[in-house]
Point group: none
Chain length 220, copies 2
DNA sequence: GAGACTACGGTACCGATGTACAGCGTCGGA
DNA sequence: TCCGACGCTGTACATCGGTACCGTAGTCTC
């Protein structure tokens, strides 16, 4: 399968998204509208290129007859295969489990507040991701404010300097992670707050819930 | 869910088959053709009945916008019920138009880099939303860092203290917005940077592109 | 017998859409 | 430097396709 340009990929992505979300393909003008292309011909050029490169087919003189072609590697395109498209329109559903530093984890997990869906692109590949609401200012110098949502990829280990969600006692907390000689240091990003030091002898892997892969703040 | 007549069931079945096999819904005339109905009105009667009984929805004055509605008992209608069409309406597709303070607006708008989809909940109701990538540290004290994505609701006015995307000369920039006696003040959230003052006589409404309604930062 | 709902035929209108043609600028080879 | 691919603007046009309005019939219920 020939390579696509950025622009062509964007067109393909929008077509795929349209089919997924609305159940029918877009028109030339809808595509143009979405991508800021004013001329139907501009869009048609892209479609011709995508046809030529084997990514989609369409029928003459009929509206909305775009069909995605499954690519050789099996990575979809085609709508009927229920598995998510590979590079395109890859969505992830993220449960917002609770608030960090606001209660027991168990408690939080049992009362998912809400669920949001965002583009997989925004949280990177792979992994099981959940969301938490931040309470407090302990990570403010890292640009994580009170009320922000953080998206967390579940994993038991972390690298030096990663922002993690860790269990300290019964509380989940958001901190920088540093593994040092004989202890784990959980460092707030706030000059007024002291790091939490945990002797490695007391440390268990299960205490890391995951690594923060995204931060979202709603304004207004 | 109300009962269907033989004929209505046949219409529904054909629509479903069309979506399954071809990837897009049929037109009125295609339905009529298949079922031996010569009048578009005959078909339209059926579609109206199916709408009224809650089996499908469609959009006005747009071709092939039939959508099957999942029936209460879960027994399809929807051809491949992979994802719940239920809250699909709550998704929003956001084109990432460019980088703030990195070039001309026109330039940016004409070259959308990419598109992301996120839950409408995250950006609030209504409005046309686009995305920008932040370049620079001018809003760092507001927790908006270099490389962050901001989601912007298009609007020409702003309230005191809103974070806006504004046109200053040819550049789009992200700043706090303050309307004062005889000038507009665009205030960076960075102690080392000076506000931009624009006499109200020089100010035009078109200079505000929109209000920042969300900030996203990808980590890791 | 009046009034619904169903199930069409026919026709007309007009907005929605795909197609075609003419250009323009950029960019990376050959 | 010419050429092809890319990525558009702009315009014109014919068809596609949804909607509206007018009729006819059969069935079923009240």
């Amino acid at each position: 399968m020939q390579k696509l340009t950025e622009r062509q990929r964007a067109v393909l992505s929008f077509i795929s998204a349209s089919i997924d979300e609305r159940g029918y393909p877009p028109t030339l003008r809808e595509i143009g509208n979405h991508l800021g292309i004013k001329s139907t011909n501009g869009v048609n050029d892209h479609l011709r290129a995508l046809e030529r490169k084997g990514y989609l087919t369409r029928e003459d003189m009929k509206s909305r007859t775009l069909r995605l072609v499954r690519s050789a590697d099996g990575s979809s395109s085609a709508p009927p295969p229920p598995e998510p498209d590979n590079d395109v329109a890859d969505m992830i559903e993220i449960p917002i489990l609770g608030r960090v530093a606001a209660g027991l984890l168990q408690e939080a997990i049992q009362h998912p507040e809400d669920t949001v869906r965002i583009d997989r692109m925004l949280v990177g590949r792979g992994g099981d991701v959940f969301g938490l609401r931040i309470v407090g200012e302990s990570m403010i110098d890292a640009g994580i404010h009170d009320g922000d949502y953080v998206f967390v990829r579940k994993q038991l280990t972390a690298g030096r300097g990663d922002i993690v969600i860790a269990l300290v006692g019964d509380e989940a907390t958001c901190k920088y992670f540093f593994s040092e000689r004989d202890h784990i240091r959980l460092q707030p990003a706030n000059e007024t707050m002291a790091p939490i030091l945990i002797p490695k002898t007391d440390w268990r892997g299960t205490q890391i819930l995951g690594v923060v892969v995204g931060v979202y703040r709603r304004l207004h």
